[in-house]
Symmetry: D3
């Protein structure tokens, strides 16, 4: 069960409104690697956790923190949308926020309003009425196929490390895309937490790998896999630039074998030939005359 306190985990106050940036900031709220994704991913991993208690507890710790991040970014977006204009004309002149920002120059105002109107999300006006939305920076809604809770913690902690890596990368880019000190202050907090969270998942992975083999799932008997191709790098793209990488040289990372470079991989399987479908499927009919007659006969009989 959950409780809420009114204060934000960290400040979320822009220096001034910026409806165009509000749209961009949506990416880390409702995008593929936004805060809703990690919130839902950690909570579901925690609720579904069948492993040791400390993992469930840790997952619910961080999942609960992420709700607070969703709250911070939503609050920031709502403020960035303050006083956003609806149309070009007189409103700009009458709008005290825009007015003071532009020193009363109406030509500049007009131009700025036009730019805002073409760059902001129309849904921030029409749908949410100057509120944050659970969508990304192109307006695509968050959906739960963005997250994973597989029941295997080593697999999932890798998903989490990835999510925090993509997430911090996007926050860093958004930091570069503004010069508003208030926005940057909030982002500097998120960057720091993502530093912790990347560290956290690396630590949790290290801990799990001390108890199991690093190939997920570690419990599948390796003798049941086709082991002759378990350590072969196959060169399917002409040229051998890929030959010099660590993945093609030396001991495999699981310590079981050495990497092999297959310069000219050959097909090992059959040439597929599918049988015709039964008449009731109405697939492509046979082409030669007689077969066709018989086929249609069968088809009629089946009705």
């Amino acid at each position: 069960m959950f409780y809420h306190v009114k204060e934000l985990q960290y400040n979320a106050k822009p220096n001034k409104p910026d409806a165009v940036y509000a749209k961009k900031l949506q990416e880390i709220l409702g995008g593929q690697f936004g805060e809703i994704s990690v919130m839902m991913q950690y909570l579901f991993q925690g609720w579904n956790c069948r492993g040791e208690k400390k993992y469930r507890d840790m997952l619910l710790d961080i999942g609960t923190e992420e709700i607070a991040h969703v709250e911070m970014i939503s609050t920031m977006i709502a403020q960035l949308l303050d006083q956003a204009p609806a149309r070009e004309q007189e409103q700009a002149a009458q709008n005290p926020v825009l007015n003071s920002a532009m020193g009363g120059n109406s030509d500049v105002q007009d131009q700025i309003v036009k730019t805002v109107l073409s760059g902001m999300s129309p849904q921030h006006m029409i749908v949410s009425g100057l509120g944050a939305q659970p969508v990304d920076s192109v307006g695509y809604p968050w959906n739960s196929r963005y997250m994973i809770a597989s029941g295997n913690l080593l697999a999932d902690f890798r998903a989490n490390l990835n999510a925090e890596s993509q997430g911090r990368l996007q926050v860093a880019r958004l930091y570069e895309m503004t010069t508003d000190n208030g926005v940057r202050d909030m982002l500097s907090f998120l960057l720091a937490r993502d530093t912790m969270h990347q560290n956290q998942w690396m630590a949790a992975i290290e801990e799990l790998e001390q108890n199991q083999k690093p190939i997920v799932p570690s419990t599948f008997p390796q003798e049941l896999e086709k082991q002759e191709v378990s350590y072969s790098f196959m060169n399917f793209s002409a040229g051998e630039d890929s030959k010099t990488g660590r993945w093609a040289n030396g001991k495999s990372m699981d310590g079981q074998a050495s990497f092999e470079y297959v310069a000219q991989p050959e097909a090992m399987g059959q040439t597929p030939e599918l049988t015709p479908a039964p008449p009731y499927v109405h697939g492509t009919p046979p082409t030669a005359g007689q077969a066709q007659a018989q086929y249609e006969q069968e088809a009629i009989q089946s009705h």
Copy 2:
């Protein structure tokens, strides 16, 4: 540019049809972590690669291999669907495949056909006419938000390691869900390649981390982040089971600091208060009588 050869990379031949299993196998074809996902992910990472040539080459090697995996699984599914029944009645009796499989016992046949009809995907009959579909095991279509190509290879290699971990986990589960030796033979090949591919991404990550700090993006100046919370584990869920993990003890994984456990994290931010929206937004109107009148007045003036 690409070329195709007719042989499959490895055999994909079931011992006998099984339309219900065909539906389940769709998961690793068109699901979130199916072969279409890794095929598209590696190809786009390769095509967009602005890093060293060997990474682009390696990505296109493995991306090209994955197209062959999509081909193998599609071929397998089509064969599992051979002679699938359309309806309960007479067709079963007339169906030689089902007939021989059931020793001519028509009661058993009826029951088996019923089970097949309730467990197979209706779209395998109605839409694809006994062919594989680019969808998952519940019929949800593949979509490109399943993949990522971020322009930062360390971030993306972590995405790749995750994809291969989730993918091999799903293949292992599907191996458990059948006893057909032909299907298991193909899956044993995919399991082996996923063993290689997990090794491959671990190797590539190790190589990249020798040249950059492990926190993505390594190029963002860490002094710009809120460093007092960069190594703190925050305990937002009552109870301290999470205190004993590696993530709360010892040196941080990036070697920059030591982990700290914050047993009772406090809010550090403001209590949000949003300003009312301008009249033209038609948000919630003010409640006190006079303010309301003035508000409506402004609204009328703006038309």
Copy 3:
């Protein structure tokens, strides 16, 4: 900011596993009117709230409660999936839960396992490894277009009343679809909370309507709408059964006029005629010979 406690808001313990029912129960977790929808809807309405403080506070109260409902249902689903079978053969016999449930009768076991396998979600095995998923009862992922936070509380409270009405209806149906006392106990709690929540939104609507006209948005000047059709019921379907309803008789609900029944509504608008597109659009070309030549001439000039 949020805190979590380990106990559930109410018990969520099934009497025995039931993987088929687990799939059905997904509807009120990740469906259009499931708990994720109301959780997200109330939280975003609260975070975006520009109205009186008590509304923001109330929205965050109920939004926070709904996270706990998501937690309860997820926990229930995970337990309903306990020991779910992966395939028909020997596993059933070796499975103590199934075994005791079936009195050791292996024929009955086989049949039950078959039914479970055809009726459960394949993703509960392959993707989530016996965990709850943020999807509905047909496996479709939750997405944020299920919710609304419009910035106008009267509009949104109507959305909320609808969500709680659809939600309680679905819970009631799911109650009918099981006889498991443990499941029914949890559902009886959710039914009661939905009773409260329908009451709550009716109360909040009543309160708002004491301060504003009941037509949303109340702030749009009604003299700017085409008032001659503001109270007319138009009969576009042959027959006049619809004439006897309250919507066609008596005073309008906003008290501004009386309902009117238009038995034979007539078109009031123009017959549309669109102009041809410019050549660079490559729309349908003009059909007469000469016009075509000129059109192609223009097209060439533009390159």
Copy 4:
């Protein structure tokens, strides 16, 4: 069955083209609360109606009217797109519509064309060739999870009242976002119809509530719900601003009890503990050495 007449229900003629506004207007055509949503919602509620004839008739009346609204807005959008530019250069100068609109000033023309190109939807040129699309203002396609037909008319009429409330709110905002008299004329008609439709659903709800209890579904025996929490407002967010609302004071809206304010709600449920998954699920393996060996043994036996 349906018939069409060529005239629109009401005029849909803009004063002049405006490709940027055309994109915004898409919201009330193909958005979550656009005309396609209500058209489909009312038609499906009517076709599925198992209640009194007058409800079916009324639903098909209004559903049929909504097809005409889809037609009007589509026609309007196509005209707003007339002569939209494809690229910056010479086309603007050669475009008589743009030319006259700008008094032949080519610098102004260039700037206006640039603004149009950055603000219009690229799909209005590339995909629909200056035609309306069944998408919203950010280009997201309409999908049928936007609508509901639950088989319970009281629930559905609340959905309908919500849809008309959100819909009229969006139309009002779009009215504010243009000064084109032709567009505003059409919107004034839609605003009036939405006034009627909000009245209509309020009337229909009132009528239904005279025959049944207002808590949906009224047919579920209330003694089967956990009645001790049926009228309690629970304060999960610190602070008691929410205490003063109607929802926490006085008689409940269904007249069955009085509202209660629970200032410090306590958890009433168990602390969840999930059992480990069977080996064939390949969940997180047990951590202690011996259990692990046994677990792997079981796993091998099952193959």
Copy 5:
């Protein structure tokens, strides 16, 4: 504008309920090539039509007919769902429809109910309460990316011919999947209309092609395309089975040239090399030490 009459275009009465078949029939209602798709496709093509009046009129004729098809199939599905069971136990015995269908044999009843419960859509009970849904046979919602209205009628009539071909194919398969005479009667009507509609689009295409070249868009000057590859079939898959087809032999279908078979197609383009991204993008950092230092220096300067 539209009018509705109460009678269906053709009878839609099943002989008896069949909830499992109801789910399958959803495919031609809300699937990719279901009736909602053609209804919306034709209506939007009509409303957006900038060509001759007769095309607009014809498109609205057939679009209006398709609304009636949606109505027929919805009505059929609702009846197929009559008396569908909610759970296994006592309800079956108490259900007169099931009871008479099974001759009072309770064992058979139990088995039949189980099969129905595992094969029907859970949403037909939980969400729509025994009503049709605008979804396909796996429960995926209809969305408007299923349709096209491109502004070029020749392109669109080909889309229409395709839609009617896929549609009739699916109806034919569904005809094979039932033996209910009432269902088959309705399908026989739809099959006939689809015969007409395939004829209709072939006729309309023939007519258009008498006025324009058959390559869409006919208005693009062919001298601007890379004409040396305009008639070459390229053999990218090993083996030359494809050499014997009409597409590789004889005069091209547009009458402009002869087909050419390129047995060994060669790449004609550059080997791509992308430049590194600017520091503010935080892409993969350069690997050599010095470049890295400079790169980070630039990055710091930009903040």
Copy 6:
């Protein structure tokens, strides 16, 4: 199985970066009729092909070519994004590409950067870091419901002809939307290949139609369809403009009959009346008092 060579099929080199056009070009990469769609459509049709070998071979030829088109367009987009700006301020001045393009005029620079920032996709910066994405021009992800492989080649070749028609139309429009010679060079290649591919599918259709009737599926016995409406054009839209088309006059295209024009089509079906749902469905309750009591009684008994 597949192999890759490093050279592109044809050159993909823009003259200069243009981040706004990069967004538009996404349409033919990841849009409904983009290259990913035809790539996947042809490959799946080939892999599922149960017809003559030459069709499978031909489908895999063209499917393999299409992967190369995806590669070309991706490469082009990445280059169009070179040096795209992140924010308005100083970066433009420091950006040598932008700088030289604008002759060092900082006012012009500022304006150009603003236009780029409002017109480019924010995800090209935040998500893909200046790389191509598998999405369309409004950022909507590619999904596999865009393609079809039905198991009936005549149906599918019509889908293919449609895809190549819509595709070439979109390429032609994009050609008009730029004046960059490098981009136009690549598009001129795609236009030529689409010319071939439209020819190819017309040829393949002609070949198939020599062996089967042109109404898909040709194998369904036409005597089982309702033949009295198989050749009737029905005039559901007032006015008879549609009477003069080929579809209403002369021999039907399948040569089986003559077209008939039905000026005033009449309904041939029943007026639907649905029976009430059982109590456990909790649909709309009966309205008369007594029936209601009985209904609730039944409902209670079932618990």
